[in-house]
């Protein structure tokens, strides 16, 4: 149901007047909230020019924001690739016709989806750091990437699985009819189609990865938030620094989310006849951090 059009009548003169009044009141309330926030910030001197001028200096960007952003993108980029691989392997594993593989994949995926990412990050960070298996300086990055991969890979595995379930049965039957084995049909016919159908949800998951990479600051990975805090503390402009960091994340993630929405509209033509409910349910997993 597209609620916007049917929850209320096409407005007549009176309704239009009411909406206008409501709009003005609503607008005033929104403006009031904004004004309150601005005045509260200004009252604490947070809007003073000296708080914001550091962001006009190239030094701030060269040594704090850009290195932080590069590290964030590096961790997220690696994790995106590895979690897609992980997701494909375990997604196909959950669809395997060999029962033990299916069970193992199922237990692994369900377990990893239930454990908080932060818990995994702290675990790998401390375990890798003390084991000597990796260089201590590399432990935070590896811990961030591994934790993000295990969690998001599991979610992607579920995407693959529900995507394949959502395909019309004829796809597999056609594959078998031309002499493919079940595995061949899965790999060559069903999973590629499932991935395309699930592309929007997949991209939403990339947003989750990017956001979750900011957990790395807790385990000393020098990502954007870490650098921003360092900058804010050095310059005495913590709140402006956090605003800038948040704005950078919002812009990148909003672009990705918009891409996901566009794609889902585009793909809805290609994926007609599949169960949309599966998509809805899976996409909501994006609530994680």
């Amino acid at each position: 149901m597209s609620a916007q059009q049917v929850l209320f009548d096409a407005p007549g003169p009176r309704a239009r007047r009411n909406i206008m009044i409501g709009n003005i009141i609503g607008g005033l309330i929104v403006l009031g909230i904004l004004a309150w926030v601005v005045s509260a910030l200004a009252g604490k001197g947070q809007l003073a020019a000296s708080m914001w001028t550091p962001f006009l200096e190239s030094r701030t960007w060269e040594f704090f924001i850009l290195p932080g952003l590069v590290n964030t993108l590096k961790a997220a980029g690696i994790a995106i690739v590895t979690s897609v691989v992980f997701g494909l392997v375990f997604g196909v594993g959950r669809l395997s016709h060999v029962a033990p593989i299916r069970w193992v994949a199922g237990v692994v995926v369900e377990f990893l989806r239930a454990v908080p990412v932060l818990l995994m990050m702290i675990f790998f960070w401390l375990a890798l750091g003390s084991s000597g298996a990796v260089k201590p300086q590399d432990a935070p990055l590896i811990a961030v990437v591994v934790a993000l991969t295990l969690y998001n890979g599991s979610v992607i595995a579920e995407l693959v699985r529900s995507g394949v379930y959502g395909l019309p049965k004829g796809q597999r039957e056609a594959g078998m009819a031309i002499g493919l084995t079940r595995n061949q049909s899965l790999r060559n016919i069903e999973v590629p189609q499932a991935l395309i159908a699930m592309l929007p949800a997949l991209i939403s998951q990339f947003v989750v990865i990017l956001k979750d990479s900011a957990l790395g600051f807790i385990i000393t990975y020098p990502e954007l938030l870490q650098y921003t805090r360092r900058l804010g503390v050095g310059e005495g402009n913590v709140i402006p620094s956090l605003f800038v960091a948040a704005a950078i994340f919002i812009v990148i993630n909003f672009a990705l989310s918009t891409l996901a929405t566009r794609l889902s509209v585009l793909l809805s033509f290609r994926t007609k006849g599949r169960r949309p409910a599966a998509k809805e349910a899976i996409a909501m997993d994006a609530a994680s951090t």
């Binding site: 597209s2 909406i19 908080p116 807790i218 948040a246 994006a286």
Partner: protein
Amino acid sequence: MENYLSLFETYDVPAAFWINIQLSFWAALWALAIGTVLALFRISPIPSLQWFGAAYVNIFRNTPLTIILAFGFLGLFSVMQINLAGELDVSLFRIAIVGLAVYHAAFVCEAIRSGVNTVPLGQAEAARAIGLSFLPAARLIILPQAFRGAIAPLGNVLIALIKNSTVAAAGSVAAEASGLMKTMIEFRSDLVIPIFLTFALGFVILVIPIGLLTTWASRKLAVAR
């Protein structure tokens, strides 16, 4: 094994989980309240409110929770000097709840909206036909059905919220599970794997029943059509 068991005498693991449960409980209530209001805004006929709802969702859904919680301590508490209680630890606990609630409200809003999408067009038309205006129609006809359709996605938000309550350690609620796990591993690095599995299992026990319960409830309560 004895080593492992002695850990529980030194460290109060259930108490740490209890902090996470309390955080999640209060944050869930607030997130549900804020999220419902936002969903109403987004389906209302008033453009300014629609715009506000959409802006809220897009901003908070795309900001890392760590930044929101850091903003809670550094911004709200330290610089703006907002105290939510007389006692320091209670005040910080509540600030963490606010951070968690504000963030997850965006997802609650989207979950309810997806629930509204399960309500057939005819329901709204029927409501209009018997003369209900927007608010009564939303309250009596649309939202009750939308909530029933939104149980599964709302359950997912709750699960995410419980897991995300571990991030509150960054927002200064030090005694919760991820903070305690870190302390325990640092002092007993020989038991790193058992310690991790203990905490992981704790979350599995908290989270999996919620998943099963909401799946069951969403089937049971699905509006028969």
